[in-house]
Each structure stands twice: as C-alpha cells, then as structure tokens.
C-alpha cells in the first residue's frame, strides 16, 4: 500500500472535530428535553384530574380582578364580565343567579351575581362600575361545559363602564395574571389545609399539606362553612 499512511488523529485535529460533532448531537436532545418536559407534565396532570397552575387557562388580553372575575373591553366600548378559570376549577359545575337587568347601574364592589351549587352560595362582587347593557341568558344551560370556555361562553354581563381606566389599574394583566393565578392556587392550598382542620370530619381527604397536588373541583364536596370562609378570603373585593 504505497502512498497510504495513517495520520495522527491529534495532528489533524480529528479529536476536536469529533467533540464538536458530539456536542452538536447532544445539544439537540438537551434542548428538546429542556423545553418539552413541562408540556408533557401538564398534560399528565390534566388527565389525572389534578388542579395545577399549568392547566389553568389565562388568556393574556383580559383584565383579572383580585376577586377572580375577569373583564374584557370590546370594540364597542362595553366590557364583558365573568368569573375566571381558577374559580370554576375550584368550585366545579355551578349555576349563576342573575340579579340585575339591562339598564341597571352597578358600582364596583356591589353584588354582581351569586354562584350556586346545590344551595351552597358564593357572592361575586362587581369589579367595575357602569351600566348593564346585556345579560348572558345561556349561561346556566350547560354548567359542566363552562370550564371548557370560561372566557367565551362564560360571560355573565356586558357592562358599559363609567370609570374603566381607574378601576382596571389594580387588575392583573398578561403575565402578571399568570403569576398571580399560580400564587392564588398556592394560597388556596394553604387555605384548604387550615379550614379542613376547623370543619371537616375526616382530615386530609382533599390535600396533603406538604405541597401535594390538589384535585379538580376540590370545593364541591366540602361543607357550607368552608364556602363561606372561601368567599371571605378570596372573593370579598372590598377587603382584598
């Protein structure tokens, strides 16, 4: 074999090339795993019926008030108002009591609607002042489906706001809303752990205090007293 010789792999920088190729090959799975894992785990949690921050629907263009209502201003200048995904996940299927009629004036902090689940009530206060122009008459038609579309079919009133800019200033918006919902979920876990101790006959049937996962609709099986406490802690706009 004249004219053929083995060359020194170091002299030709062969090893260096191999390392760079290895790096590039490893970079692909590294990057894929780094970015993908979270989507998978949220799908699993959803399938198992766990309630976690990653399954919450939080459209970024809505204003979220501290009492778990949302507002969305339409082109016409009227705002749709409803209750947010987290609240519906916590309560499960509910009906809404409509107390107002089109043409009624409402002030921020007034009673907007009541959530009713077999006689257990939660009072929802209005996040905005203005004049009611429209009522969603189909809201109570399919309560169990409301979770699928809380911000579309789930609007309760349309309100012509009278003090929009000032009243939305304290609301959460875009990624603030995402962060806030996650924090509220944590606060709800703590709340449950405390109030279960006070009222529920069997301790720890819903939640582990060490940060275990919450079940979806965790409030639905719990007694009236806890609903009352929940309303005070999470929905009383005048206190929050």
């Amino acid at each position: 074999m004249d004219g053929f010789s083995y060359s020194d792999i170091f002299a030709t920088k062969g090893i260096e090339y191999l390392i760079i190729i290895t790096f590039l090959i490893l970079l692909v799975p590294f990057w894929l795993v780094l970015n993908k894992q979270k989507q998978i785990s949220s799908t699993i949690q959803k399938a198992l019926g766990f309630l976690s921050a990653s399954i919450l629907k939080i459209p970024q263009g809505l204003f979220y008030s501290r009492n778990h209502t949302w507002m969305h201003m339409e082109k016409s200048g009227t705002a749709k108002v409803g209750v947010d995904d987290l609240l519906l996940h916590i309560t499960g299927a509910v009906k809404f009591k409509i107390h107002k009629n089109p043409g009624d004036e409402i002030k921020k902090g007034d009673l907007l609607t009541e959530i009713d689940q077999n006689g257990k009530l939660l009072r929802i206060l209005s996040p905005v002042s203005g004049k009611i122009t429209n009522i969603n008459s189909t809201i109570n038609e399919n309560p169990s489906m409301l979770n699928e579309d809380p911000y579309g079919k789930g609007w309760i009133y349309k309100i012509k706001p009278s003090n929009w800019v000032a009243e939305t200033k304290t609301c959460y918006f875009a990624e603030e809303a995402t962060n806030w919902s996650a924090a509220e979920l944590e606060r709800f876990k703590d709340f449950l752990a405390v109030s279960m101790k006070n009222y529920a006959p069997e301790p720890s049937m819903v939640i582990l205090q060490d940060g275990g996962e919450l079940c979806d609709h965790s409030l639905s099986a719990l007694p009236k007293e806890i609903w009352r406490d929940f309303e005070e802690e999470f929905l009383d706009l005048n206190r929050l």
Binding site: I19, I20, F23, W180, A183
Partner: protein, 408 residues
C-alpha cells in the same frame, strides 16, 4: 396635574441639601447580625488600608516580585467582575431582546454591577505599588497602548459611566428631578448598547491579561482560549449572582418589593435557570474541547489534576444538571442551590487562574496574609452597605413614582 403638586409637596420647604442630609441619616435597626459581623471587619480593614498607604504594600500584603497579583486582584477584581456580568446579560435580554418579564429586576442588577465595578476598581488601586499611576492610561502620561491593561482600564472607566447612565433615572426619581429624568431616560438605550459592547470586550479582556503568563500558569488552566472561557462563564456567573442576590433581597427588602414583582419573581428565577443550564452546557464542552486540545491528560492524576476535575465536574457539570432538572420541576430551592454551587465554581476558576495555579511550581507559594483577607472582605462589606443604603432610599425595588411613567 395633581401628581405635579404632589412632587412639589414632597420636597417642599426643604432645599435639596436638607433633603440629602435627611436621606444620609441611618434608618432601621442597628443590631442586626450582618451589622455585628461587618462593622468590626470594616473598621479593622479601614485601619489596614491606612497602614497600607502609609507604610507601603509590603506591610499588609504577601505579594512579591514573583507573584505581584494577590488576593485583591484575583478575588475582588477578577472574580468580582465575573459576578457583575449579570448586568450586561440582563440589559441585553430586556432592552435588546425585549424580554419584558425580566424588567423588574433590571435596576437592582445594574446597581449591583455599577457598585461592583466602582469598588473593584478601588481594590485595584490598593494592590498597585504606585497607585497614582492608575491614571496614566487615561490622561496619557504614558498610554501603554500596546498592553491589554490599556484596554481594560478604558473599558472599566467607560463601562462605569455607561452603568451610571443606565441607573441615573432612578436617582432622578429619588430627587424628584423631572426634567433630568426625561433626558436621562432617553439616554438609557444608547448606554445599554455601549455597555454591552464594553462588557463583552473587557470580560474577555480580563482573561487576555493572563495570556502573557503562559509559563507561569498551570497548563491545565492556561490555554489560548482563556478570554473566551472568561466571557462565557461570566454569563452564568452573573446570572447565578442575580438568582442568589434576588433570594436574599426577597427576605431583607421584603417591604420594598411591590406585590406584582413578588409574583413575577418565581417565574424570573425559573427563566434564568434555563439560561444558566444552556450556557453551562456549552461552557462544559468548550472546556472539554480545550482540555483535549491541550493534551495534558498525564497531569490529571496529580494533585492539581484532581483539583481541576473537582472544578469541572463538581462545580460546572453538577450545577448544570441541577439547573436543568430544577427548571423542569419548577424547583426554586434546587435552583438556588445550583446558583450557589455555580458561584463557588466561578470563584474556584478565577482563583485557579490568577492565584492557585499561578506559579504553582514555585518553592515559596503565595498565600494571602490575614490582613489581605480582612481588606478583601472590607471592600465587599462596604459595597453591601452602600447597596443597602441605596435600595432603602431610591426606587430600585419598589415602583417608580407615578409621574415617571407618564412620558413612557
């Protein structure tokens, strides 16, 4: 125009000097654990600094003609500047890449970076035999334009100015100076772009200083790619510092941080851990590549070799994996642990290049005297004191006054 009157009222009846004098008074409790530890050290350190300038460098420091760069340069300057890298990475992310999520921590990071540079340039003066010569590359007494130090000196100076401009709107808000605020805010973008360029140049420039010491640095740490390594590692060093510092600020300055910022904090830390994992992954392979290229495997089974492996595996690879895993699990505690490990690793790396691996074969090794250690700590503690003073007075962590957002 209500806001306008409010501001006038705030400073009403007081001249600017009275306002400043009031702000200079100490606030809060005196007997905190941090004060009890830091005050005696600072007093002792200041006394040692007086001795150093009065009697000369040899009285307090163990540096020699052979090893002229001691702890003050190796630790305060070279390591400190790496940790100040968070400022250029974050300003790049927020102002150039428009990642608004990180905006709430930009001011505290820039403040941290600015103070770091100001104090570490100060530490440099301590370590120079003839400190008055530090002005020479600036005033042109002898530019020394062929030296890397010329580059580093100018970059330090210009970068400090750029960071001061980036931070200056905060000072204007504190003083209630509306016109100045408007002008200074307009300069932010230019200062950011200028600052990023300068930082990338001098992070690598600090590494380039060591290229001249080829024969003196242990071959496992010396290679012609030190500038690249210093630049890449400054990214995750700076971000780890941001994570670490943020975790402490969360507790210490709890009342300063607005509610919305608190909620965003977790998200920010998780986002930063992803960037750390990515850059450390690349850095690890760069180190591997350089190691193979240098063909020094025979040195691995020596004392210095084990030390090298500990740095690369224990304090680069392990925290990288921790960042990776905790990013996926949203585990804040683990991210903080990873950040601390990373910081230890960066300190090890910079000290290995500048002190431990420097003249490793000398018969008499350089070991810093206790006085050098005290002075090094003094510089850091004074920096933290000023940091705390600024945060308690200026709108760094808390929201800007409402007038400041009007013309945005």
């Amino acid at each position: 125009m209500n806001n306008n009157q409010q501001i006038v009222l705030d400073n009403d009846g007081k001249s600017i000097w009275k306002f400043l004098a009031g702000e200079l008074k100490p606030r809060g409790k005196w007997f905190t654990p941090f004060n009890i530890i830091s005050v005696p050290i600072i007093l002792l350190g200041l006394a040692l600094i007086v001795i150093r300038f009065w009697k000369g460098l040899g009285e307090v420091s163990n540096v020699t003609q052979e090893v002229p760069w001691g702890l003050w340069k190796g630790f305060n300057v070279v390591t400190g500047v790496a940790f100040a890298g968070g400022a250029y990475v974050l300003t790049f992310m927020v102002y150039i890449m428009n990642m608004r999520k990180y905006h709430s921590i930009i001011r505290v990071t820039v403040l941290n970076g600015f103070l770091a540079y100001a104090f570490y340039a100060g530490a440099l003066v301590l370590d120079l035999g003839r400190p008055w010569h530090i002005f020479n590359p600036i005033i042109g007494n002898s530019f020394g334009a062929s030296s890397v130090l010329f580059l580093v000196a100018w970059h330090f100076l210009l970068y400090m100015v750029a960071q001061l401009i980036e931070f200056s709107p905060t000072i204007a808000e504190w003083l209630g100076a509306r016109r100045a605020h408007k002008i200074l805010s307009g300069m932010t973008m230019a200062a950011v772009i200028f600052g990023i360029t300068l930082s990338m140049l001098h992070q690598s420039g600090l590494g380039a200083l060591f290229l001249m010491a080829k024969e003196k640095i242990h071959p496992l740490w010396y290679n012609e790619f030190i500038p690249v390594m210093f630049l890449v590692s400054s990214i995750f060093a700076g971000l780890s510092m941001v994570i670490f510092e943020g975790s402490i600020s969360d507790k210490v300055f709890f009342d300063q941080i607005s509610n919305k910022t608190k909620l965003a904090q977790k998200d920010i830390i998780i986002g930063l851990s992803k960037i750390c994992a990515g850059t450390m992954f690349a850095y690890f392979f760069l180190q591997l590549l350089v190691f193979i290229h240098g063909q020094h495997w025979d040195l691995l089974n020596t004392g210095m070799g084990h030390w090298f492996l500990l740095e690369m595996l224990g304090f680069v690879l392990v925290p990288m994996i921790l960042f990776f895993v905790s990013y996926r699990n949203n585990n804040i505690t683990m991210i903080r642990i990873a950040a601390i490990l990373t910081m230890i690793g960066v300190i090890m790396n910079r000290l290995n290049v500048s002190i431990i691996g420097y003249r490793w074969d000398a018969v008499v090794r350089y070991v810093p005297s206790w006085m050098e250690v005290i002075v090094a700590l003094t510089v850091i503690f004074i920096q933290i004191w000023i940091f705390r003073w600024v945060i308690n007075r200026m709108p760094v962590l808390r929201d800007s006054p409402s007038w400041a957002n009007e013309h945005k």
